[in-house]
């Protein structure tokens, strides 16, 4: 098959709302300073749950962070994070859709929790199931306070709809959900859409907030969360031998992606080249990644191939590193298989150690972190690491951020359901004109 000349895509804007900061700058500073987002859960009484802490976004004021306040009526908590982070990314890039080019702008999002929240479930319970048994006639009772605005909020593409309306994005638009791989896959989707010429600019990212009684219940039932209730800030310790589950976070991350030549022509600041996307399905178990790394290996290799580079050019890996036994072992096996003899030269960290696991937003936020690490030649650390695990003997950045020039960075996201997403970001200095 003929070699396809790939269109080059630049990252020119970043926005984040995370448990360690309500902007990209705050998040980055927080990560470098060793700030930890985990604390006893404040947004509801979690005292009875097996995990009583989480990594919540703190002091977030949607009214001031979101440009079009009228949309807030329809926006869930995660939509609010998304609207704020996307606005920040566009403002950072210094561009926005105009009447003339709005059809050349696209949107791809990893959409978070697609289930109704506890408050709405309470309304349903009180009217249609007061005794616990669901009776559909409760809904058509004249007293049922069903509210179509709430209904709209829980539609699968509601966040996408609010974002396209907020910014006037009239080209390709989509939402994806592959659990924890969603954010990475959304950015990968955007890369493909731009390369095939359907858009010249895209807003790509992810948003999620599952820190509510129904959201957290699913993870508690599964036993996936760390139960270190007496030590929230030490609970997320990816690759540590004593790791015992992830810490649930929330937030949003967005990138502005732009045709490289257009970005260069307008003198934009380019954080990195979004150089490659890799995407595989483990086909192993619904919650576990295979111990030998089969699945993640293919995603990483595809991403490298797509970027047109070899494993020898990756200097930093922002690992999925959830702090669960199975994930971290599988991911390290994959890294060792791909980097082979160079494994000790590649520096690795999971920023979930500081921010917790942002689920559908994780891949997007971590992609943004890779871009900032490339810009500052400074890689964030893997916090809370004390006890080596022989299965996870990769070269972790511990104790403090690592000053290092990064030629290219790899961001991994491995989701429940077996989807693996890998993204490669290249230092703009490495890009030959």
């Amino acid at each position: 098959m003929a070699k396809i000349e790939k269109r080059r895509i630049a990252v020119t804007g970043i926005g984040m709302v995370t448990p360690v900061g309500n902007t990209a700058a705050e998040t980055w500073a927080g990560l470098l300073a060793g700030k930890n987002g985990a604390a006893p859960t404040q947004s509801f009484d979690a005292s009875g749950f097996s995990t009583t802490f989480s990594a919540e976004v703190k002091g977030f004021d949607a009214e001031s962070a979101v440009p079009n306040r009228k949309l807030l009526k329809y926006a869930s908590r995660s939509h609010r994070f998304a609207l704020a982070a996307a606005a920040e990314a566009l403002s950072d890039a210094g561009i926005a859709p105009t009447e003339a080019d709005s059809h050349r702008w696209g949107l791809a999002v990893g959409a978070g929790m697609l289930s109704v929240g506890y408050e709405d479930l309470t309304v349903l319970h009180d009217h249609a199931a007061p005794d616990g048994e669901f009776n559909a006639d409760g809904l058509i009772d004249p007293d049922f306070p069903g509210n179509v605005v709430n209904f709209c909020r829980w539609q699968a593409n509601a966040g996408q709809a609010l974002l396209t309306k907020q910014f006037g994005i009239r080209g390709y638009a989509t939402s994806v959900h592959t659990a924890c791989a969603s954010g990475g896959q959304a950015i990968g989707t955007a890369l493909k859409v731009m390369r095939r010429g359907q858009c010249d600019y895209m807003l790509a990212g992810g948003f999620d907030s599952m820190i509510n009684p129904t959201g957290i219940s699913g993870f508690c039932l599964l036993g996936a969360l760390s139960t270190d209730n007496d030590n929230p800030t030490g609970a997320s310790r990816p690759f540590d031998a004593t790791r015992n589950g992830f810490v649930l976070g929330e937030g949003a991350g967005f990138l502005v992606l732009e045709d490289w030549d257009k970005a260069t022509a307008r003198g934009a600041t380019i954080y990195a080249e979004l150089a490659g996307d890799g995407n595989s399905l483990s086909c192993y178990r619904i919650t576990d990644s295979p111990p030998d790394g089969n699945g993640p290996i293919q995603a990483i290799e595809q991403a490298l191939g797509d970027a047109g580079i070899t494993a020898a050019e990756i200097d930093y890996v922002n690992a999925h590193g959830t702090s669960t036994q199975m994930n971290d072992r599988s991911e390290c096996a994959a890294l060792k298989a791909v980097f082979a003899g160079r494994i000790d030269e590649v520096r690795v960290s999971s920023t979930k150690s500081s921010m917790g696991h942002l689920i559908a937003a994780a891949g997007a936020v971590e992609a943004a972190v890779c871009c900032l690490a490339i810009r500052d030649s400074l890689a964030p650390m893997n916090a809370n690491y004390e006890n080596p695990d022989p299965d996870c003997d990769v070269n972790l950045i511990t104790g403090a951020p690592q000053p290092m020039r990064i030629r290219a960075a790899l961001s991994n996201s491995l989701g429940f359901g077996g989807s693996n997403s890998s993204l490669v970001f290249r230092n703009p200095e490495e890009v030959q004109p």
């Binding site: 209904f151 509601a158 009239r170 638009a173 994806v176 095939r196 129904t214 039932l221 599964l222 995407n279």
Partner: protein, 430 residues
């Protein structure tokens, strides 16, 4: 033509909906003018203002025989698994794979992708929490503390797994070892058609050699019926697309899937070809969750983008399969978008929701599977529910009577919440 030389063909299809569990069954109902919309049975309809839907009444174990698997999937997943595996079986790929050696099989699996369009969340699954909520409200320790403490005793540990929006991807993958590129698109009604479009694009982009693309949904739930009714989107009878007296849509449930490959690969393995994927367009109206542009501009732009992507002109289109959901504003603006592209020379138009209801995330793929059948047979079934075409829409070449496509190329329109318009262009099997 940007994709010149690299033809992508459909080599398998599968469907499950109220009208049947195979393409042949659904076609037979369409041809006879029989709608599957009927009084629903899944909850007591006596007092409900809407009493009909196109339900799948087939036994669960017929659709997915693995008893254990039913414990970790929801109703929509069952449809999705069935349709995807039917399409893959129909393509002949499993038999082809069996003839490969071990290393070839690994490579084959790594280059086989799955792209799923999923409805996303559902309401039904939350009913699992209702008994616990009743107990929690009466608990002396307080509602949430009790809820949290008793959770593990009252609700299945598999709750989250049962409700993952990407379950079809996961389970079809595990069962068939399809390990290549993948996605789960949760773009409401546009999910399924976008899965097909992204599937074709993945092959064009050399990310995979073959893709199974599926849309699945089970929107027929009490909350969905209630809220759609509140919004004025729900009819009490089978939808009448573009009709003067149309009054809304009706839910169906189910799934449809196709298998896509390079034409050269299909030929090499002697596969039957159901049609060719020519191109697509996708655009947002940027109008929020429910609103539509009053002039159908998004429909127009998506059609134009799809025609340009396919490298064809309006006069080459032999048939339009419209979204035609039976809603006032949607059908009117859709017809305006079509007219603004085709002028007075609109090819025959049809829409299938009258027959199997609105499958939401699966609707576009179900329509695609039936469009391929229409092109193969050269017959467009009449729309049995059509009375008089809306004077605001007429003249519009839509009919109660069967018609003939004017070429072997069809244009398929799918619209969705969020101001979404996705248009596919396909060619039928010659």
């Amino acid at each position: 033509m940007k994709h010149a030389g690299e033809k992508i063909v459909f080599t398998g299809s599968g469907i499950v909906c109220g009208a049947g569990t195979s393409v042949a069954e659904v076609w037979a109902r369409l041809e006879k003018g029989e709608t599957a919309v009927a009084p629903f049975t899944q909850f007591d309809r006596t007092n409900w203002p809407v009493k009909v839907a196109a339900e799948v009444l087939q036994d669960n174990r017929f659709l997915v025989s693995d008893r254990k698997l039913h414990k970790t999937i929801s109703r929509t997943d069952m449809f999705g698994i069935y349709a995807t595996e039917s399409a893959i079986e129909d393509s002949g790929l499993p038999a082809y794979r069996e003839g490969l050696g071990e290393a070839e099989t690994d490579a084959f699996n790594d280059r086989t992708g799955l792209i799923v369009g999923s409805g996303g969340g559902n309401y039904r699954s939350n009913y699992d929490y209702l008994p616990l909520m009743t107990a929690a409200k009466a608990a002396p320790e307080g509602e949430l503390p009790h809820f949290g403490r008793e959770l593990g005793n009252q609700v299945t540990p598999l709750w989250l797994l049962k409700n993952l929006p990407n379950n079809v991807l996961c389970h079809v993958g595990i069962r068939g070892q399809h390990k290549g590129t993948n996605a789960c698109i949760t773009n409401q009604c546009s999910s399924g058609v976008l899965a097909v479009a992204e599937g074709a694009s993945a092959i064009w982009n050399n990310e995979a050699d073959r893709i199974a693309a599926v849309g699945h949904d089970s929107p027929f739930e009490p909350e969905m019926v209630y809220y759609y009714h509140q919004l004025g989107l729900m009819s009490g009878e089978a939808p009448r697309p573009f009709d003067a007296e149309r009054n809304g849509t009706v839910f169906g449930e189910g799934s449809a899937a196709v298998v896509l490959e390079r034409e050269a690969d299909a030929k090499a393995r002697g596969a039957k070809v159901l049609g060719e994927f020519l191109g697509f367009g996708c655009c947002s109206e940027a109008t929020g969750i429910l609103d539509l542009e009053p002039d159908g501009d998004g429909v127009k732009r998506a059609i134009e983008a799809a025609l340009a992507d396919a490298g064809i002109t309006t006069d080459q289109v032999g048939l339009i399969c419209a979204h035609g959901n039976g809603n006032q504003a949607s059908d009117l603006t859709e017809s305006m978008g079509i007219r603004n592209v085709f002028g007075d020379d609109i090819p025959p138009v049809t829409a299938f929701k009258w027959a199997y209801g609105h499958l939401i995330a699966a609707s576009g793929v179900a329509d695609l599977v039936m469009v391929l059948e229409v092109l193969k047979r050269g017959v467009i079934p009449g729309i049995a529910t059509l009375g008089e075409v809306d004077p605001l829409i007429a003249p519009f070449p839509i009919s109660r009577e069967a018609a003939t496509p004017r070429s072997d190329i069809a244009l398929l329109i799918c619209r969705g919440f969020g101001g979404m318009n996705v248009v596919l262009v396909v060619r039928g099997a010659s």
